[in-house]
Every structure is written in C-alpha cells, then in structure tokens.
Subunit: 352 residues, 2 copies
Amino acid sequence: MSRFWSDVVHTLTPYVPGEQPKLDNLVKLNTNENPYGPSPKALEAIAGANQDTLRLYPDPNAEALRAAIALAYGIEPRQVFVGNGSDEVLALVFQALLKHGRPLLFPDITYSFYPVYCALFGIDYQAVPLDPAFRIRPEDYRRPNGGIIFPNPNAPTGRWLTLAEIQGLLEANPDSPVVVDEAYVDFGCESACGLIRRFPNLLVVHTLSKGRSLAGLRLGYAMGDAGLIEALDRVKNSFNSYPVDRLAMAGAIAALEDRDHFDRTRRAVMASRGRLVAELKELGFEVLPSMANFIFARHPARGGAELAAGLRRRSIIVRHFPHPRIEAFLRITIGTDAQCRVLVDALKEMLA
Amino acid sequence: MSRFWSDVVHTLTPYVPGEQPKLDNLVKLNTNENPYGPSPKALEAIAGANQDTLRLYPDPNAEALRAAIALAYGIEPRQVFVGNGSDEVLALVFQALLKHGRPLLFPDITYSFYPVYCALFGIDYQAVPLDPAFRIRPEDYRRPNGGIIFPNPNAPTGRWLTLAEIQGLLEANPDSPVVVDEAYVDFGCESACGLIRRFPNLLVVHTLSKGRSLAGLRLGYAMGDAGLIEALDRVKNSFNSYPVDRLAMAGAIAALEDRDHFDRTRRAVMASRGRLVAELKELGFEVLPSMANFIFARHPARGGAELAAGLRRRSIIVRHFPHPRIEAFLRITIGTDAQCRVLVDALKEMLA
C-alpha cells in the first residue's frame, strides 16, 4: 500500500522502546520505570478529576500545570511548555528549534530517539563520539553547529556533566539552541534550569515518568527562555491543541507538589543503586558511574546479549543494545532492593 | 528570540480552538462538547486504572484498545490506529499520507485545522468551494490530486454526504488517499467504515470527544487498510511511542463497550437538535440541515458577530467565524434542552 504513503514514511526507521511484556511475575528492569508508585496525592487528584467534566476539553494552555511547574523550579509560567510525555516534547523541540542550516550535534551513544526525530523532520546531524570512558567531552561541541542536544545524565551510560561544564558549553555556543534532556536528573544530578535566566539559548526538558513515577500518565515539560517556549507553542498549536488531558493535568500538579514523596522515593532508588553497583563489582562487572535510575555494566568474560538472554530465561528483563562500542553492556533499571537481590542472585548463578 | 527558531516556525499561523473559559455559570455552546457526561462505566474503568501501576509505561501499541475499536466496528485490530485525540491522529495522517506531488483537496469551508497542518508539514493544497447551499459537491473532487480530506458531516456547516456519494468519490479517486473525518458522525450520519474492506485508499477518523463525551480524555482513532495504518504507526513511532496513557486507554475501552449510554445520549442530542432547529426557524433564522451535534444558522436581519456578542453579554458562548461567506453564521453546539431554552429566550429578547 506504500503508494499512498508520503515520501518521508519510506525513509523512517522508527524508535523501538523497551519491551512492555504482558506477563506478570517478571522482574522488569528494562525501561527505567520507578519501582515505587506515584504520590498518593496524585492518585487522589486524578480521582477528583475523574467525573462528568471529562466531557469538556482540557485547558489547551494547561495554565494551572504550567504555574505548578514554574513554582516548583522558580521560573515564570511563560518559561514552561508541557506535552504528552517528554518524547512528544522532544519531537516538538526537534521540529521547532533544531532544524537549521548547520548540523545538530549529539553524542554517538545516547537516547536513540534523537536520530529518529532527525529523519522524521529532515534535520542534518553529526554524532559526536563519547570519549573512551563513555563521557561527553564538552570541548568536542566547539564546532559549527545548528544546535546541541544531550541527556544529562546521558542514557544509556548514566554518566553526567557538571553544571560548570554545561555552562561552559552554553558560553561556547551562544548562537545555538542547547537542549539538556534531564529525563534522569532526579537521581542525584544537578538540573541546569537555574541557568535559564542567563542563557536565552538553553532549553531543559523534564519528564514525570522517572522521578515522579508517572510513566503511565504521559507528562513531560520544557523550561527555557520565553522565546524558545513560544516556538514550541506555535508548533504544538499547529499539531494538536490539547495534548495534555484533564486527568494527567490534575495528577501532574499534585505529583509536583508532593515534594516529600518525591524525595523519599528518589533517595530510596539512589541508595539501592549504590548497593547494586557494589554487588555487581564484586561479581567482576565494570559499572560506569551513574547518576540515573539505571546503571550500565559489562562483564569481562561474558557478552551482553548472552547475559541478557540468560536473565530473560530467569524472568528478569534488562535492556541490551546490539550496537558498536556498547554491545558488551547491560542497561539495568534500579528496582526495589528485592528485585536487585533477584538480579544479583541470577547473575551469580550464571557466572558460577 | 526568533534566531533560535527553525524556519517553519516563522511561517505558522497556529489553529485557535474555541475558547475554554474559566468562568462558571456560562452556557457553553462553542466547542461542540457533549452536554451529557461520559459513560459511568468509563469513569469506573479509569478509577480501576488509577493506581500504582501508573509508574509503568502504557502499552505502546495500545493492543487492548485497538481490539475494542475493531470489535465495535467489525474490522481487524491491524486496521486501527489510536492517538492522543483525533487532532493528533489527523496531524499524523497529514504527515504520513497526504504529502504528495499533487495538491491535497479539501473544502474551502471546513475544519480550519486542515490548512494549519499543511503549513506545518509543507503540504500543497487546494481549497474546493462548497456550493451556494454550503454543500460538498463530490464531482468537484474529480481533478488531479494527491489526496482528499473532508469531515462528514462537514464542520462548521453540519451538512453531510451520503454513503453512496462517498463511494462515488472513492471510485473516482483510486490512486489518492481519501480521508473521511467523522468527528461528528455519531449524531445521525452513516459511517464510511463499512467501505474500508473495499477501498484500500479510504481512511476514516473518529474521536471520543463528541459522541462518547470524553473530550477531556484525548482519544482519537483512524480506521483503514492495514497499509495506511502502517504508515501512521511508522510516523507515530518516530514521534512519540506512547501517546495514549493508561487512564485514557481504560476509559476509552469501557466507553466503546457501553453501547446503551452512547445510544441514549446521542439520541437525546439529536432530539434536542430537532427542537432547537424548529425554534430558531420560528425566530426567522435560516438553519442549515445538520447531522452533527451543532447547527449553523444565520438571521436575515442581524450579523453573526453582533449576535455572538449579544449572547456573550448574556453569558452564552457560541462560535462565530469572521471569514468570507460564513460571517453571518453562528455555530451553536447542541446543549441540554435547558441550555437550548436559555439560548432561545436570549435570542428572542435580542431580536425583539
């Protein structure tokens, strides 16, 4: 039926998200979900919005939610854009802000949706190699470009740039939009959003899927100078006026307000991460330093595909990328301590 | 800050949806929402999904929802695509199926998002004039084109094509994708989805915002040959893997299953429409025949803008489009009988 397809469709290699298996009783450590549930206050707020008013459209400008985000991060509502998950926000960012005459730069090992967006919107890009320790080298981004995007911490490595390094990168690229994708920032890394006031070229993208345990709700947002936000609004309002529904809006606002739940659960994840890293190192794994809710680890004696398959046979799912440079690695989401225990025991058995 | 914008952003004139006022006590007849709430079973299903599992991503393929839609319309799940409201579905349709060497055709008076999508995706189009009675003339679409799209019933006129006319249009355009946007089909019009099996170029787009009273939830879908659906999936998976959240999925499935509630509420809307049309005609209005949950009416002695402003002063909001050919008209959503009463009384007073 391809004769009815627009040309671009033929060129696409869509992003493949981590498997969402329908089996129960799996130890699911493959898509970086939070092992703890969302704030009970978010569930309560959703229950409150679950009524006859669902017959009415949501506020297309999501003003209450923008205000809640602005309050949480000490910025203005006009510096906030919200969307149906940070993947949608990123898609609109690529379309609205990253298509220029010069190539977009991002790391060669990073969120694999970036090159997919480039194909969809016809954006020229260059993949900048990570250093041999899988770090982003800011000095590599001092070359002509039409924009820069990277996750901080980076995925799937978990390695991060300091705020000083990000500031240097912004100073070196005053004429380029610089997008810091902070999907995993809530697990120990410092957010760049404090730099928004000083850098009109900085856009910071967040999600409620990781630190706020709301992957099932689809809520992401971007923070930056009002000029950048206006571009996103213009494209969004040319694509879908109402991407954020009434329930997501209510749940997101309550989740952002419940600072206690947020801090308690992310600290639990960080503590589990520390323990898991120590145990994997005892088993001989090399584990990259991580500030994310996942770790990236390889074993000197066993291949990544082999380990992933062995875990799978034991009903434990982790992510393996069959790509150059990283095919030896497993990306393992930090689960509860009980889940980490099951994982470590399985690996012990497999390595024995 | 426009130096950071991608070129396309400068060229956009975003769609402006009907106002979503934050005042209470308004008679809101401006955005074609259903005056009756959604199925109580949908609210129940949402309540059931509102739990800790929101920490997990939804099924990216929305298989359960696709199956429910397929069952409701007697088609296969692979003939169904779902998205975050029919506006998102339409956006992906324009991008995936309607960009070709020859111009896209749609009526000159129609859903005003269509030309906005064309600007966003760089699609060449021709607006085909409605006839003097504001009807789509199928024979006007027998000209070289790269695709055809129209709402049935059309918006904001409410007028419709018969199934035989749509079939003729499909037969005359075997090499073009033909998209029938059935946002308003549930109020007396016949769906074209029975033609899907015979016409691989037919795509039918639906929403749960009107007939199912779930505008606040954001759920739309497309039905057509698996080849057309594959194009939509490819673009969706290059844009946002998870547009439909867990709550929307649960609510939508239950709403589609509750045929009784659906039939009862849409019949109530149709009955109110009949009464409202009769009363407006008594007041001297010309009312176009409508199969939608709105009517399009003009008064020989009063301008549309003047009437809309007068109603607004009386806390009644209707939609007025300051566009050539239709500036005399009001588009009035069918409310409850009580709301229609308030509207008619206000108009009586204004026309006295």
